[in-house]
């Protein structure tokens, strides 16, 4: 049964065989500037080494080990490195052979930073046998984060050549590279389905290998509360699916943060909802009768003790997660229970707010920011979903607004972006990148072509868009498939956010993406096919 392409694919489907031919030794996401020649070097696993010539720290030491492994022995233990029959003549006699490349210099110009941050520098240079660096290979950067990105690029430049039979070959290349946007995130939802630590780590590796730099950890939601709080352990004891196996202990969280730090990835937790008894609004129906006890509304904004709790809770979060940014959620608030609660009605009347419950929400949010600023000595920064702004709620300066509406409501996200940036808030975009929505066939193009800066707005407005996120809500996905469902579709978001705006030809991208997919598969990650009928030299489970 032939698949009849109802929508266009970025290539012509051939009569037989694979639909497209992958590139060889191309980098994903595409560097800002790259020149390379046909001249090639051969890498020998037993001779090869990274030479750290500049500053060094644990991040570099770990990366050096990691990338040696990724280049020469990718994938799970037991996988045989790719090899072809040895060439008929010594490789040295190949006309394009230049030399054996036995070392790559890592040249970090400035001391390492300990933590990745919103304003980390990620630019780097790679020179392999350039005029000013003949017969040598060097990765240079002013920041350790740039070195990490450069090492990823370098690892992707190494390829196995079917033509020469060389397993590890690399062309003479010069790259100058930097990200287009500083915030390139992925949101992972561990509340609807619990994701084991192993899965989170694999996800983090994949983020690094696509040069993304934020893991937005949607830790809790309606469904469950798997975060084990030190101060309030009862929340996860009663609110997780299973209080021993389906939670993240303080140590688990530390492990994730450290794993991400070593890869230049920030971890931003989202607490849409800490809960504890009496925190939430009891719900009354229209006749003023209290509903069944397990129905609650939003947090009760009128009770003082709630702010004490929130202050302590977020104080703990701020100490646990080193990034100053915390995602406060704030989406989809319904006023139903607020409107029917006598205590709230009285409070509204006392403040003369009439029926304007956005005032109450504003009050709540003001109080929340006040108490959290107080306990963190004004260091906490916020990310919120766009609803708060939609309700004209004033947010503390420095707050980032995440735009998620638009694509699924008949509106274009461009209008949302124009509106949000007009208020002067920094903005990240998620609307076009809800990867949990799946559809049959090729769908990565629409993610790839979503352009964050296409909206009508001034230069200053556009400068406020600091990046975007792919999101993977987990109602219908758990650790079994969260990785193949996310990747390589999220790769396209990664390229949109890293590469130059002009890198937007899907026909060209398809070929590189095909190579990148097989690369990630070879590295041991369960990533789905990206372009229909095709094969990788090493398949999954082969």
């Amino acid at each position: 049964m032939q698949w009849a392409p109802s929508e266009s694919v970025p290539f012509v489907i051939p009569w037989y065989g694979r639909w497209i031919l992958p590139t060889v030794g191309q980098v994903w996401p595409k560097p800002q500037q790259q020149t390379s020649s046909e001249t090639f070097f051969v890498l020998r696993p037993t001779m090869f080494q990274f030479q750290v010539v500049g500053e060094r720290c644990d991040i570099i030491d770990e990366a050096v080990r990691r990338y040696y492994q990724i280049i020469f022995y990718p994938g799970d233990a037991g996988r045989i490195p790719l090899s072809y029959p040895p060439p008929p003549t010594p490789i040295q006699e190949h006309p394009q052979f230049r030399a054996f490349l036995d070392s790559v210099e890592i040249d970090l110009k400035q001391p390492c930073e300990y933590l990745p941050s919103a304003d980390m520098l990620e630019s780097y240079n790679i020179k392999i046998d350039t005029a000013d660096n003949p017969l040598k290979a060097t990765i240079t950067s002013d920041s350790v984060w740039g070195i990490l990105r450069g090492m990823e690029t370098l690892s992707q430049l190494v390829y196995s050549s079917a033509e020469t039979g060389v397993a590890y070959q690399m062309n003479a290349t010069e790259i100058t590279d930097f990200p287009r946007f500083s915030y390139r995130g992925f949101m992972m939802d561990t509340a609807r389905h619990y994701m084991p630590l192993k899965t989170i780590k694999k996800m983090t590796d994949l983020l690094a290998q696509n040069k993304m730099n934020v893991l937005h950890w949607h830790l809790t939601d309606d469904a469950s509360f798997p975060y084990e709080s030190t101060l309030f352990p009862n929340i996860s004891r009663y609110g997780s699916f299973q209080p021993f196996s389906h939670i993240y202990t303080a140590n688990d969280v530390r492990e994730v943060i450290e794993y991400a730090r070593l890869r230049g990835i920030r971890v931003i937790p989202e607490f849409d909802s800490p809960g504890q008894p009496r925190l939430l609004t009891e719900c009354y129906d229209d006749n003023g009768i209290l509903k069944v006890p397990d129905e609650y509304g939003a947090i009760m904004p009128t009770r003082e003790e709630n702010y004490v709790f929130l202050q302590q809770f977020f104080g703990e979060i701020f100490n646990t997660f080193p990034d100053p940014y915390v995602h406060m959620g704030g989406d989809e608030v319904s006023y139903y229970c607020w409107q029917r609660h006598p205590e709230i009605k009285a409070f509204m009347a006392a403040n003369g707010w009439g029926e304007d419950y956005t005032k109450l929400e504003q009050y709540y949010f003001d109080r929340l920011t006040t108490v959290t600023q107080e306990i963190t000595q004004n260091q906490m920064r916020y990310i919120v979903w766009q609803e708060l702004l939609d309700l004209n709620i004033t947010l503390p300066t420095g707050t980032i607004v995440e735009v998620w509406k638009g694509d699924y409501e008949g509106l274009s996200f461009n209008e949302e972006l124009a509106r949000v940036t007009k208020y002067g808030y920094q903005t990240i975009l998620a609307s076009p990148w809800y990867l949990n929505y799946i559809s049959y066939g090729l769908d990565w193009e629409k993610y790839y072509l979503a352009e964050p800066l296409d909206f009508n707005g001034s230069e200053a407005q556009k400068n406020l868009v600091i990046g975007g996120e792919a999101t993977m809500w987990s109602e219908y996905v758990d650790s079994v498939s969260v990785i193949p469902r996310t990747w390589p579709r999220a790769c396209t978001v990664a390229e949109r956010l890293w590469s130059d705006r002009s890198v937007n030809d899907t026909a060209l991208a398809a070929l590189r993406l095909e190579e990148h997919r097989c690369r990630l598969l070879r590295r041991g990650f369960m990533v789905d096919p990206s372009n229909g009928v095709n094969f990788c030299e090493q398949e999954w489970d082969m």
Binding site: M1, Q2, Y16, G17, R18, R192, H193, Y194, P196, D221, D222, S224, G239, Q242, S245, H246, F271, D272, S273, G275, Q276, L280, C283, P293, D294, E295, Y296, G297, A298, G329, G330, D331, E332, S334, Y336, C337, E361, N436, S439, G441, E475, Y476, V477, D478, V480, S481, P484, L521, V527, D528, P529, G532, V533, F535, E537, Q538, E539, W540, D541, M542
Partner: protein, 569 residues
């Protein structure tokens, strides 16, 4: 309970009310069950329930306990390799599933430490240390369309108190019974690791042909993935592996007589092929599980990958100006030598694959290339067929059937896709027509095909490769093969169905997780009684079944939205 009275929900979101603005992610989605109001999983799984549901099952609250170190199966009737292997397999599945084997060790520790507190439970009936397996007829070596899959299970029945027996006429019935038995065993809340309720089951399949199609041409599927799927089929009581082994993109079947077919037509002739021993392995693996392997060698269309390895087989296409194009169409039905090739090729297939049935394909034949080819044009003229290329297709199928009948001494049986009948090709009456078109509107076609008197297998509503956001198993579950307008005798001609997983957009990475447990819904439709059709009742059992398959080491997706299993992937 404390958990109920304390709700841990969104900071700001009103999660709780139907009246409230729904979570956008749930908007416009249908569910075969009510979403819960508070926190937690959307569905509470059953405990110790069987999937697919047996025809007849009675059980009580009385229970027996199984002890891994004392338990054994005892064969009292006929025996054979199939049964001996099954015993080992099911012992492991029950006590040491790949992702839950820790349970056994914990059990042993616990029972030593707490001196078996369950013995004081009034429902405790004793330890089930022996389950008798009794096959009444000598084993058959091969599963077949006519295999007998009936079985009975009695655990602590009135006529056999405190005993366990699985009884069947044939070894295939015992295999199905062992699967059911393994699903009856559960870990209880009381800390008992292996517990089984007093139960009587009388079970048999509603349809004899219950299949899964996997496509190893669009993406190559390595053997471990095929094995996993065969295991999953057995654990869902499916009994036909329809192996769509070749198609336009690639020819991964390594033929003994015509090795150039895969040498030139596969993605890679060393790593991306099924060698004769691979094929043999798959067949044996399936046989041990009571699964037939029906290979499909789709012709005359869907054969582009045959071209490089067999020059002259495909029809050269011509441009409008009468010059040769670089493209090839379906198999060229004119030259006699092509039938000679097909005769030899299918003779090999008939030898390699022990099942009498071979799927000949016959779908989506594109006539435009035939119509452009001068050789074919003149042949058509000669036959006075005008522009009726359906007659040419008929001619091809007829010749193909003649030569394959000839070379297999009339023993080969066929499955074909529905187009062959739609184009009025006359087929041997034993041929099974595979209905695949029109999604959920398959009724007219089923009525039509059965009116011709052909037996029929249905796939239209079960194209699992078409993925959907949200919960979608209930639509597969509710597709009823016999809901078409037809006589009783027409309905008897529907011998089953197949779930299909075409491989355009899926490979070894996700083929298992996308197929399962969605294919489980099809499995229950085809095995259980027609009246077992309430998704609300099925959902909790399916939820248990999903976690069971996960525990058994298979990467199967969540099926009912927000949920968890005791042991995650």
């Amino acid at each position: 309970m404390a958990i109920k009275s304390v709700s841990f929900l969104l900071l700001l979101l009103d999660f709780s009310l139907g009246l409230a603005e729904p979570d956008f992610q749930k908007a416009n989605l249908r569910f075969p069950f009510d979403l819960p109001k508070g926190n937690g999983a959307w569905i509470r799984p059953t405990v110790g329930q069987i999937w697919p549901k047996p025809q007849l099952e009675q059980s009580t609250d009385n229970f027996m306990v199984l002890r891994p170190s004392d338990f054994h199966f005892q064969i009292t009737g006929n025996t054979c390799d199939i049964l001996e292997e099954a015993i080992h397999r099911y012992y492991d599945l029950i006590f040491f599933p790949p992702r839950g084997s820790g349970t056994s060790k914990r059990f042993q520790k616990l029972s030593n430490k707490y001196s078996m507190t369950w013995e004081k439970n009034e429902n405790f009936r004793g330890y089930l240390d022996t389950v008798v397996l009794h096959v009444m007829q000598p084993c058959e070596k091969l599963p077949s369309l006519s295999m007998d899959e009936h079985y009975e299970i009695k655990i602590d029945a009135t006529d056999r108190p405190r005993e366990g027996i699985i009884l069947g006429q044939s070894v295939w019935g015992i295999l199905r019974g062992l699967e059911s038995f393994s699903q009856l065993v559960y870990s209880s809340q009381n800390g008992i690791a292996f517990q089984i309720n007093s139960t009587m089951i009388m079970d048999f399949p509603r349809f004899p042909h219950r299949g899964l199609l996997l496509d190893s041409s669009r993406h190559f599927l390595p053997l471990p993935v095929i094995k996993d799927n065969l295991d999953l089929m057995a654990q869902n009581k499916l009994n036909v592996f329809h192996w769509h082994i070749t198609d336009d993109p690639a020819f991964p079947y390594e033929s003994r007589k015509f090795p150039s077919l895969s040498q030139l037509g596969s993605f890679n002739p060393y790593s991306h092929v099924y060698s004769p021993s691979d094929v043999e392995y798959v067949i044996q693996y399936a046989r041990m599980r009571g699964i037939r392997v029906i290979p499909e060698f789709d012709t005359p269309g869907h054969t582009q990958s045959w071209g490089p390895g067999s020059p002259g087989l495909l029809t050269p296409c011509y441009k409008k100006d009468g010059t040769k194009d670089n493209f090839f169409g379906p198999i060229n039905p004119v030259p006699a030598k092509n039938y000679k090739f097909l005769r030899e090729f299918f003779a090999e297939i008939f030898q390699v694959f022990p099942d009498a049935y071979v799927h000949l394909g016959g779908d989506e034949v594109d006539f435009s290339c035939w119509a452009s080819n001068p050789e074919i044009i003149s042949f058509m003229k000669q036959q006075r067929w005008e522009q009726d290329f359906a007659r040419l297709e008929q001619f091809y199928m007829q010749r193909l059937i003649n030569v394959t009948q000839d070379v297999t001494k009339g023993e080969m049986r066929y499955l074909v896709w529905q187009e062959v009948i739609d184009n009025n090709v006359v087929l041997p009456s034993s041929t099974v027509i595979h209905v695949w078109k029109d999604g959920n509107n398959f009724h007219d076609e089923l009525a039509r095909v059965t009116k011709f008197g052909y037996r029929t297998v249905l796939s239209s509503p079960w194209y699992l490769n078409y993925i959907n956001y949200g919960v979608d198993w209930d639509r597969y579950y509710l597709a009823e093969p016999l809901s078409f307008n037809g006589t009783e005798s027409q309905k008897r001609l529907v011998i089953g169905g197949e779930a299909c997983m075409w491989g355009e957009f899926i490979d070894a990475v996700s083929v298992t997780s996308i197929t399962w447990p969605r294919a489980s819904a099809v499995a229950e439709r085809l095995w259980s009684s027609a009246s077992t059709n309430d998704p609300r009742l099925a959902a909790p059992r399916l939820e248990e079944h999903r976690c069971r398959l996960l525990r058994r080491g298979f990467n199967v997706n969540p099926i009912n939205g927000v949920s968890y299993c005791d042991i995650e992937w």
